[in-house]
């Protein structure tokens, strides 16, 4: 299919890159991008990094590709529903946008603090959008006496790093035994914890916040051990939930964990059958990953949004059989506390980790992760150039620990990575 109408729901990274790939692969029909934000697609990774430090204005990260895309933009209007039989996207303003093919790229949003009246206190922030970053930056400009960050995942840690570099006191609270424990495990997370503490972060691990208190503005947080943290700015960084609420009633397999799709990015209906004209890509898509024995996962990685959207575009034009299953090795990066952390593969379910190059003492190393004797992931810390060599071993499930390091490498000692117990599928 090279003509007709393709509608893209969600106008951010995956939506833009999917739309571009449709054009570069020869789609000459009508292309309509529908987005609830009023902005053209922009880049999110800087929002928790150089935007908070004030080096980049929140509005500056509009993505290359928006200028030349021959598309119609319907921005500032969320999609509110889907008429599958009538092949139309229903907009919140009452509009109806008919399509021949639909690409769903509505991404994810920050998980809110569970008590709504506490979440509404002024000074309580989440960070997902450009507007969130602007509001948070404005809050920081007022020089709060202490910032409290709930959650030591990637966004919580990056935000902590940025705010520490502004010289503000920062407390981070997380129930896990180490920062980034979910993704990297306790061993590598423990290394990052050392950097956080060295940077002056008051790090409270194995601890939960039970309540946010204040009148109109937040004043303090109550901890489960009865203690309190006095803070006049709070960043809730408790992960993301997928934007699938608007699909309720459409008969697709969708929930807060994502919209299920097959390897060709086709959305699955309630019975698990692929729907021929609806596709998904990016953070919203939950797809069978070959590296996990085709267990469904939804990733939250910039690189996945780009690659999966391109895969979906090809499947939309040339049919699912011509593209084969999406099997990109997951990759992401993070910058925090002077570190560049890069990851390849999926650490989920890993039972061993070994430093295979460099050393934590030198502040530069590469850790490989294994599961049942096979290499499943690699994480570099300030050693990005070593990482690409591990893509092959991960893709092939090479024996763990993988042999790729130089001859100067010590015999790697492998230990349990301290990852949370794997979820049962």
């Amino acid at each position: 299919m090279r003509d007709g109408t393709i509608v893209v729901a969600g106008a951010s990274l995956a939506g833009l890159r999917g739309a571009e790939a449709l054009r570069t692969n020869g789609f000459s029909g009508r292309l309509i991008l529908v987005g609830d934000e009023p902005h053209r697609p922009y880049d999110r990774p800087p929002l928790s990094k150089h935007v908070l430090t004030g080096e980049i204005p929140p509005g500056a990260t509009t993505l290359p590709g928006v200028g030349t895309l021959r598309a119609e933009w319907r921005l500032g209007t969320p999609a509110a529903g889907l008429d599958r039989a009538g092949r139309a996207l229903l907009l919140a303003d009452g509009g109806r946008v008919p399509f021949d093919r639909l690409l769903i790229a509505t991404g994810a949003r920050a998980r809110a603090w569970p008590a709504p009246e506490e979440a509404r206190l002024s000074g309580v922030h989440t960070l997902r959008s450009r507007d969130d970053a602007a509001a948070l930056a404005a809050g920081l400009a007022a020089r709060p006496r202490r910032v409290l960050i709930l959650g030591a995942g990637f966004i919580g840690c990056e935000v902590a790093s940025s705010i520490r570099s502004l010289g503000l006191p920062v407390t981070v609270v997380d129930p896990a035994p180490a920062p980034l424990a979910q993704a990297l495990g306790r061993v590598i997370g423990g290394f990052v914890a050392g950097r956080m503490v060295a940077a002056g972060v008051d790090l409270r691990l194995g601890m939960r916040v039970t309540r946010l208190e204040g009148d109109r503005a937040v004043r303090r947080a109550r901890l489960e051990d009865g203690g309190t943290v006095e803070a006049d700015l709070v960043v809730v960084a408790l992960g993301a939930v997928r934007n699938t609420g608007w699909l309720a009633g459409a008969g697709l397999d969708a929930d807060e964990g994502g919209l299920s799709c097959d390897g060709a990015c086709r959305a699955l209906d309630g019975e698990g059958h692929p729907v021929p004209d609806i596709f998904a890509a990016g953070d919203v898509a939950r797809f069978p990953h070959p590296l996990l024995g085709n267990r469904p996962v939804a990733l939250e990685h910039w690189g996945n949004a780009v690659a999966q959207a391109a895969h979906a575009a090809r499947a939309m034009l040339d049919g699912p059989d011509s593209v084969g299953p999406y099997a990109e090795v997951p990759a992401f990066w993070s910058n925090q506390f002077g570190l560049t952390i890069k990851s390849l593969g999926l650490t989920e379910g890993a039972d061993a980790v070994a430093i295979v190059q460099g050393s934590p003492r030198a502040g530069r190393f590469l850790a490989a992760y294994g599961r049942a004797g096979r290499t499943v992931a690699a994480v570099s810390v300030n050693a990005g150039r070593w990482l690409p060599a591990y893509e092959g071993p991960i893709r092939d499930g090479a024996p763990f620990p993988p042999i790729t390091g130089g001859a100067d490498q010590p015999r790697p000692e492998s230990v349990p990575p301290g990852l949370p117990a794997p979820k049962v599928a």
């Binding site: 009023p38 980049i56 993505l63 910058n335």
Partner: protein, 71 residues
Amino acid sequence: MRVVVDLNRCQAYAQCCYAAPDRFVLRGDEILVYDPAPPASDRAAVDRAVQACPVRAIRVEHEDAPAERPA
């Protein structure tokens, strides 16, 4: 002008920093900080940075985006 760097691909070779020192800076060991919206007057320098990157991680678009308002 709009710039984005694929930081999965970037390996901190710093060639861009030599080509366009006002727009690309390497911080610490390998944190690349870049200006995502350089002024049009920097076009030649930014183009040099794109060319210089050994892993082709930098993408630039010179065309102006249509006005940033809902259609």
